[in-house]
């Protein structure tokens, strides 16, 4: 057991946890003011549902003993409720398994929350929670097994426990989740948009972002947490984590510049929303690649992703689908870019030790990356379509048009986000229910 590594992974788990409230603010600022709370609540909902499911059977499904040696799913019952982990020794004898389980829990929570940006202002909250739970169970936990569960080997190099098929049989490089997190969430977002349809009045009357400073705050929290996400994935406080840290910085920096450049050329002005979108696009793309490229390679990966995503977010208007906050354009596209570019920019001198096409490695790694990316995309898209369709067919998924026009915060949560001005606050603030009435309050004080 290594106390430095353990401290690092636990701190990184907390950093990644902060990404989900950060994402909530990032998304919340981008919708109309009358939908800001629902946007926050969809992310918070993931912290609730997925946090509980992870402990009950999610960790076990992702990292339990492989069922049948196929690399498709861990045993959901092996660590059911995590009870059998209590008192167990550590993962590879460097950190406690619980530290790893805590760290990976945050990934599952964030991935589900990422999807919600595609369906702003139109999904009922209960069905969203049901979707979140089903999707985590049927899509995320298995895919995390494919990508993040590595074979265990003995001193002689023989495999003693089989891990996921993408990580071990295909040997695609996905250091922190370009496939398992971003392509996965992006494909699910596309599926949800196709099942739910566009917002009422889209694209003309769905409004502009209501609070860009909130979006910038959220992006800042995401970037901060992302250092935990990527550098923490080293699972040890050492050289790999440090290189990954620098790559995570510079990939996002380059992507921000690239996005702003595309905007300047196409629309005349670099925008605040474009700058923070570029940051996220860069972070998404460097996530799978951060252990496989040099810092110069990270600049290339970030710059390509920033430029490609800046163009991709405009496609939805031509293709006529309302991916409200561009989960497809940033996470699916950025995830594909980053995962595939590993095959081009990977350098044998980086911690992953694999050379891509531009570094003398030929096409070998590129096809491995493509197989991993396409497998996760196809699986997530098909399963997500099925789950969304089932939710819609059973309990219904969409808000009624009347409720949508009234504002989802009022109709789904009985709240409004902003009460600026004493007049407005007073006019809307008379208590009406027995339970919360002033008389009842006075009675209880006596």
């Amino acid at each position: 057991m290594n106390s430095g590594d353990t401290a690092w992974v636990l701190v990184c788990a907390a950093l990644v946890m902060l990404m989900t409230p950060g994402l909530a603010l990032f998304y919340g600022g981008m919708v109309r003011s009358r939908g800001v709370l629902n946007m926050l609540m969809m992310s918070l909902g993931s912290l609730g549902v997925v946090g509980v499911l992870w402990v009950i059977y999610g960790y076990s499904g992702a990292f339990g003993a492989d069922l049948g040696g196929l690399g498709l799913l861990g045993s959901p019952s092996e660590f059911f409720g995590m009870s059998r982990l209590v008192g167990q020794e550590g993962l590879s004898d460097t950190i406690p398994t619980f530290a790893f389980a805590a760290f990976q829990a945050m990934f599952a929570i964030l991935t589900v929350a990422l999807i919600s940006g595609a369906i702003a202002d139109r999904a009922r909250f209960g069905p969203w929670l049901l979707f979140a739970g089903l999707w985590a169970s049927l899509v995320y936990f298995p895919v995390a097994h494919w990508v993040f569960a590595f074979d265990e080997t003995n001193a002689a190099g023989e495999v003693t426990a089989v891990g996921g098929w993408i990580a071990n049989r295909i040997a695609a490089i996905d250091f922190a989740g370009g496939t398992a997190v971003h392509i996965n969430a992006g494909a699910a977002a596309l599926a949800l948009v196709l099942v739910l349809g566009p917002r009422s009045g889209w694209p003309k009357e769905t409004g502009k972002p209501h609070n860009l400073p909130l979006v910038v705050l959220g992006a800042g929290l995401l970037w901060f947490g992302w250092f935990g996400f990527n550098a923490g994935s080293a699972l040890t406080a050492g050289t790999t984590a440090a290189i990954v840290f620098v790559n995570t910085l510079v990939g996002a920096s380059a992507a921000m510049l690239a996005w702003m450049l595309v905007e300047r050329l196409r629309h005349g002005r670099p925008t605040t929303l474009g700058a923070v979108s570029g940051i996220i696009a860069g972070l998404v793309a460097i996530t799978p690649a951060c252990s496989a490229v040099t810092p110069l390679g990270a600049i290339a990966v970030g710059a390509v992703s920033g430029a490609v995503c800046a163009l991709a977010v405009e496609l939805k208007y031509r293709l006529r689908y309302d991916d409200s906050l561009d989960v497809v354009g940033v996470h699916l596209v950025g995830g594909l870019v980053g995962t595939l570019l590993v095959g081009l920019f990977a350098s044998a001198s980086a911690p992953a030790g694999v050379a891509g096409l531009f570094y003398g490695g030929g096409l070998d790694q590129l096809w491995r990356q493509a197989v991993g990316a396409l497998a996760v995309f196809a699986y997530s898209l098909v399963l997500s379509l099925g789950i969304a369709w089932v939710v819609r067919a059973t309990i219904g998924f969409r808000l009624s048009t009347a409720d949508e026009d009234a504002g989802i915060d009022e109709t789904e949560h009985a709240e409004t986000g902003y009460h600026f001005g004493e007049t407005r606050n007073t006019l809307r603030g008379s208590r009406t229910s027995e339970h919360g009435s002033v008389e009842a309050l006075e009675g209880s004080v006596r």
Partner: protein, 112 residues
């Protein structure tokens, strides 16, 4: 009694207030408003989607005055609010039937 209503550029409102105070005007109501006249709106861009914003942010100033002061107040506002560019706003005067000061119950010109 008259009500002088002015819709002016946001950046000129303090000059309007100061020039009215110099005339002895002791109160006014000020509000943020949106609207449009001959001034063009502007275009905003969010992730490549362009939004034409037709309304412009302005400030509305309302002053109750006695009949004899109305003309002087009107001219003071116009001179303080003018930059010479499109979008300087408008000022208009309307007759007022009755005014009551809430605290004392004074009415008419006593209440102004």
């Amino acid at each position: 009694m008259k009500l002088v209503t002015a819709v002016v550029q946001q950046t000129r409102v303090d000059e309007v207030r100061q020039s009215l105070t110099a005339l002895g005007v002791r109160g006014m109501t000020i509000a943020d408003v949106q609207g449009y006249g001959r001034q063009q709106g502007h275009t905003e861009i969010y992730r490549g989607a362009e939004y034409k914003v037709d309304v412009v942010d302005k400030t509305r100033v309302e002053v109750l005055v006695n009949d004899v002061d109305a003309d002087e107040v009107l001219r003071a506002i116009v001179s303080a609010a003018r930059s010479g560019r499109v979008g300087d706003g408008k000022v208009w005067v309307t007759p007022v039937e009755s005014v009551v000061r809430v605290r004392t119950g004074e009415t008419g010109e006593q209440a102004i």
